[in-house]
């Protein structure tokens, strides 16, 4: 029991504390592509602290408006407890990747509800876009996880990583990589909060703490998906296999995970910086293509290759 609490504490601190740093690195990298100096890497921390201290203007008394950011933040936080960061997931006894899927979906739904609760036309438009994206992207995420689950005969994240290469896993890995872009709203697909089209969509009426929670949960999502990708498909290096004390191995694993997340997110940021935003129908078509690709992966998984 005490063991579990330690794990929960470590996971929460890691996700909550490290994710703004990742965002900072991404912003810095984007600045490199833009040939400028860019903000310091700790900038997102400052942004969040500043937003938390700002006045919270409420456009309506709707309880949904107040709850949406909290639901979004906490659902991502709970989802993080089902993901392994190099050690086995904190709540592995309580649920598996299906639970992770539910909580991640809940966070997107919270964004949409928050957008609808603002009663601003931009918010409504943003919410409808968010839901459309959700319907398109979530099945693909589920499918990739199912492919991995079939190969491992389990949906527990600790059981998932397989060392053997297989076609279905490769296809699923590509599918997940492509869908991360959609899930964390990076550029070809940031139609939800398109700043120039619909003025940040669902977040238009949020100020201060509410906005901070939304932003923070997006940073956390980035970290979660990057971790998910590395830990499910390329679970290397695993220091627990080496002869060393367990605690040190775990710490090394976490450090390796963080570095890997940075690498993946920089790759995603590169795609982000060299693409214009797609229209919603174009992005749905893209999701359709990925969906069928991953379906092929599923078929491969059934026939056992």
């Amino acid at each position: 029991m005490a063991h579990m609490f330690v794990k929960i504490a470590v996971a929460v601190i890691l996700v909550v504390g490290f994710s703004p740093f990742l965002e900072g690195v991404m912003r810095k990298f984007k600045a490199v592509i833009h040939s400028r100096k860019g903000p310091p890497v700790y900038q997102p921390y400052i942004d969040i602290i500043k937003l938390l201290g700002k006045e919270d203007l409420r456009v309506s008394d709707s309880i949904l408006l107040r709850l949406a950011p909290m639901v979004c933040f906490s659902s991502v936080l709970v989802a993080s407890l089902f993901v392994s960061f190099g050690f086995s997931p904190a709540l592995s006894g309580a649920g598996d990747l299906v639970a992770f899927l539910y909580f991640i979906t809940l966070s997107s739904v919270a964004v949409a509800i928050g957008g609808l609760a603002t009663a601003s036309p931009y918010g409504g438009l943003g919410a409808s876009r968010e839901l459309m994206t959700l319907f398109a992207a979530e099945p693909i995420l589920a499918l990739t996880l199912i492919v991995a689950g079939i190969k491992a005969q389990s949906m527990q994240m600790t059981d998932l990583p397989l060392s053997a290469f297989s076609i279905s896993m490769a296809i699923a890995a590509i599918g997940l990589f492509l869908i991360i872009q959609v899930q964390i709203a990076k550029l070809p697909f940031d139609i939800v909060e398109a700043e120039q089209e619909i003025m940040e969509g669902p977040f238009i009426e949020y100020s201060g703490p509410g906005l901070a929670l939304f932003k923070w949960s997006f940073y956390m999502k980035e970290f979660l998906f990057a971790t998910l990708f590395w830990r499910i498909f390329i679970n290397w290096p695993d220091f627990r296999a080496f002869p060393m004390p367990g605690l040190l191995a775990n710490i090394l694993n976490i450090a390796a995970n963080c570095v890997q997340a940075v690498v993946l997110l920089i790759l995603i940021e590169l795609i982000d910086a060299t693409n214009p935003r797609l229209r919603i129908d174009q992005s749905l078509r893209f999701c359709g293509v990925v969906f069928f690709t991953v379906m092929c992966g599923l078929i491969f998984a059934f026939i056992g290759s």
């Binding site: 592509i33 398109a194 120039q196 089209e197 214009p276 229209r279 919603i280």
Partner: protein, 316 residues
């Protein structure tokens, strides 16, 4: 300024007209680079914004060196220009133009094969040639619809009778064609500046204006601004002041074409289509509806427009 000159019957010296042409073309280059950046920003492609504004910055510095300010040049006077382009400045300008041309070629080369960019721009905001002609659209917007209208060629002013630009048209009629028109016009402007600097004639830059023009004289000039043709009309008055000065900015005509351009488009396409005609909302600030049947003119105020659109979308 030239409309006043026309009214007063003055013609600026040749050197002054060349300097005006060079500055107008510098302005066009910077405006087109700026526009590409803004268009990129509208469709979320911030890298285009950053890079094209990076290339634009030396142009601004050049303008600052020539005139003393980055934007409000304050260069034209009635009868000539205020400052000469100094001899030691000219060798500095050529390398600037060379690097700009090189980089701009690379950009054109790179985005020509960019499928995601084309997916957003091609076939969006279509303005067919006959429709464009009906709506009197001007500038790069109409040249993207394959109608060669350019007041620099049609009604030469400044030194455009000697430095003749090539009118660039594209047949696409869509946003992509308008991007290409602007990008190719930039090369044309670079060429014109080079020629202008090489053939810069000697002589005075200002003719002395001996007497004030009598009141009641009219003058009109059509200027091809980067956005399209701007018309300045002046009636001279007494006491050194104009009696009436009317400017028709190109955005007036461009906006008429917008409803047909955004028909059946999604919300995501509206900003870029609007942006593709490079609107200047500082130049246009009210909506005037003319009822064709009764010939009544009604100027809508802001609240009325808001109410109409709310009624239409079932809000408020």
């Amino acid at each position: 300024m030239e409309s006043v000159e026309e009214a007063a019957g003055i013609r600026a010296p040749r050197r002054a007209r060349y300097i005006r042409t060079i500055l107008l073309e510098l302005e066009r280059i910077h405006s087109h680079l700026l526009w590409l950046g803004i268009a990129g920003h509208i469709i979320g492609f911030d890298t285009v914004l950053m890079q094209s504004w990076r290339m634009r910055e030396p142009v601004m510095w050049a303008a600052e060196k020539i005139t003393g300010n980055r934007k409000t040049y304050g260069q034209n006077l009635i009868g000539g220009v205020r400052r000469d382009i100094e001899k030691e400045l000219i060798p500095e300008l050529f390398p600037m133009l060379d690097t700009l041309e090189q980089q701009w070629k690379k950009v054109l080369d790179a985005i020509a094969g960019d499928t995601t960019l084309k997916a957003r721009l091609e076939g969006v905001g279509i303005l067919p040639a006959d429709k464009a002609r009906d709506l009197c659209v001007v500038g790069p917007t109409v040249r993207g619809s394959d109608i060669p209208i350019d007041s620099r060629v049609d009604h030469p002013y400044a030194a455009y009778d000697e430095l003749v630009p090539r009118v660039i048209t594209f047949t696409g009629c869509d946003n992509w064609a308008r991007v290409l028109v602007r990008m190719h016009e930039t090369f044309e402007s670079i060429r014109l500046i080079r020629e202008g600097l090489k053939n810069l004639p000697d002589g005075p830059i200002l003719t002395q204006v001996e007497e004030t023009p009598p009141p009641g004289r009219e003058g009109m000039i059509v200027v091809e601004a980067p956005r399209g043709e701007a018309i300045h009309y002046v009636i001279t008055g007494s006491d050194y002041r104009p009696y009436r000065w009317r400017v028709r900015a190109p955005t007036y005509q461009q906006l008429q074409a917008l409803p047909s351009m955004i028909q059946h488009a999604t919300v995501a396409d509206v900003p870029i289509t609007l942006g593709s005609m490079d609107p200047c909302f500082s130049c246009t600030e009210r909506l005037e509806v003319i009822d064709v049947k009764t010939h009544k003119v009604k100027v809508y105020s802001n609240e009325e427009i808001l109410n109409i659109s709310r009624r239409k979308y079932g809000r408020g």
